[in-house]
Symmetry: C2
Subunit: 337 residues, 2 copies
């Protein structure tokens, strides 16, 4: 793909254009083949662009309307039709952009994307997918909160979308798929996960189906794709974030607890900085709304420019690797067997 | 309470009598007022007791039958009526022991305890409760896997059991209660958590009800009691374990990554040992089956003697603080308002 157009909602997130433009500037150096279509307040955008290190390859599509983080998704969908987020989604629907990135209101982004872009044929409900570090590399987990109550059909679709996502974004050859459950034995779990197990098992000549996994298997990297409903997935992801914060906090406290420990910290600092970089949540920023006719990436609202630029890179990688045509091919193939 | 009788299933867990007897010996030093009633193979027990440092205060109730970790709970309940686990539970029912500890088959322990001891009046289903470290101290989380599908009534009962548990085991004065959800706003979540919110809100002049919390709030210590169904609770707990293991693994790798880092590690070692002790999962060993007529504590199957003795201490603490009469009082009080 020679040139990519990427729509960016510059008004979303806790810090708005200040952070988003800085992130776009950082990302543009990594991706010179991308033209950024920036949606939001032109004046504010130009002020921030002036501060950057020669941002080229961009257009500004001005609008003064934007969606606030506490706007009701339904209201945002019905009333804020000139908001930066809505115009960015429209841009993808009109094929002017290949995808979009926003740090705005998640519910509104989901509602508007679903309404404007529609789901891919064969996908009933979009899912939010994310990346987590493990002992063996990075893995995909979905759904992270878009679908609180799921059927087995939803989970089977999540598995297929996750599999193609792992290939497109992480380059995994034949991603293994696991269903998150409370035990790894087949008799464990609720009716939905048991039924999902049976259906994925039937597809096992076409996918690399592992079976059930437990919470502590996620970060062992036992499978490449963790499939779960949005309730459990959201809780797993956020619990993981909380535990990581707690441990790093404890570690900092103990390094400050004695003079020797402080000296040890100073000596180990370069290694500890690499450790911090390894578990840096900003590296994993960018939750992807899968199953829509277009690439939609949600950056964390509190992300800084490094985090936001990682979300941009995720969107570009999915576009370059033709995520949407690959998932359509997969669904077509499976519907014909 | 002057003398406590505690039943111990010495045949459960991955290591059997070897580890359990060592744990009993360690615990007996901390709790000289406890008489241990040991259920299992007498010959094996005596071999291990001979190795200990003067274990007194014990009786052995011999049985050669025991439940294996892969025995079906229903079969264990129906057929293994002379197993060490079953006899230990019977001992509590017959008031010969105040409670019991086992590292055996969780499903069998739950099924047998429920069948023999029955649930307390006002509690429909027992829950498994555990302790987690947070930024602010220790908190209680339940259910951890006993009840995959829960109603709002179940969750309300878990909240009350968790509240009294926090008082009895951790000494919290007025424990705050949170419902685990995918967002802290009242509009978020599934029908069950929303209904539970309403019902706990109605009780808020009698309990310290905080509202919804998210996964990353668990380890911030935002509430003292985290209420959730067994599916999400199990996933949260095990994901937390997995993340902690991953981070400690990364940390070890980076400390080995250069000579300076190794030297830094050596200097910081005493502080890092205190850090390790702080997050040592063995300290939090001992999941408690709440809501039964008797104190039942499940040790992790893979626990060593330090872990198992912590499970023993948890049981003793709940007995000494009259957990069961306190929860009965609470339920009586609330049923009369």
């Amino acid at each position: 793909m020679s040139q990519i157009n990427l729509a960016v909602d510059i008004m979303g997130g806790d810090f708005g254009p200040k952070t988003v433009i800085k992130a776009v500037s950082e990302a543009s150096k990594l991706h010179p083949n991308v033209n950024f279509r920036l949606f939001g307040d032109k004046k504010k955008a130009l002020v921030e662009i002036a501060k950057t290190d020669l941002l080229k390859n961009f257009e500004i599509i001005h609008t003064s309307e934007y969606i606030k983080s506490d706007d009701e998704p339904v209201n945002a969908l019905r009333k804020l039709k000139k908001s930066s987020l809505r115009l960015a989604v429209n841009d993808v629907e009109e094929k002017k952009s290949h995808g979009l990135v926003s740090a705005g209101n998640t519910g509104a982004l989901m509602a508007i994307s679903k309404f404007v872009l529609k789901t891919i044929n064969g996908i009933s409900r979009p899912a939010i997918a994310g990346i987590m570090p493990t002992l063996k590399g990075e893995i995909v987990i979905l759904d992270l909160g878009a679908n609180i109550d799921c059927t087995d059909d939803n989970l089977v679709q999540f598995a297929l979308m996750g599999e193609v996502f792992s290939k497109s974004l992480l380059g995994t050859k034949t991603p293994s798929i696991g269903i998150l459950n409370v035990g790894s034995e087949e008799i464990k779990g609720n009716a939905v996960v048991k039924q999902t197990f049976e259906e994925l098992d039937k597809l096992s000549s076409h996918i690399n189906f592992h079976g059930f996994i437990e919470g502590n298997d996620i970060n062992k990297g036992i499978v490449d794709v963790v499939v779960t409903d949005g309730f459990s997935g959201n809780i797993a992801l956020k619990t993981a974030e909380g535990v990581a914060e707690l441990i790093v906090h404890f570690l900092q406290c103990y390094f400050k607890s004695s003079l020797l420990a402080k000296l040890g910290y100073i000596l180990s600092k370069p290694a500890l900085n690499r450790f911090k970089a390894r578990i840096d949540p900003r590296k994993y920023n960018g939750a992807v709304l899968l199953g829509l006719n277009g690439i939609v990436v949600k950056s964390h609202g509190g992300a800084d420019s490094f985090g936001f630029s990682n979300a941009i890179s995720a969107a570009i990688s999915l576009i370059e690797n033709n995520y949407n045509s690959e998932i359509k091919k997969k669904l077509d193939f499976l519907s014909n067997i």
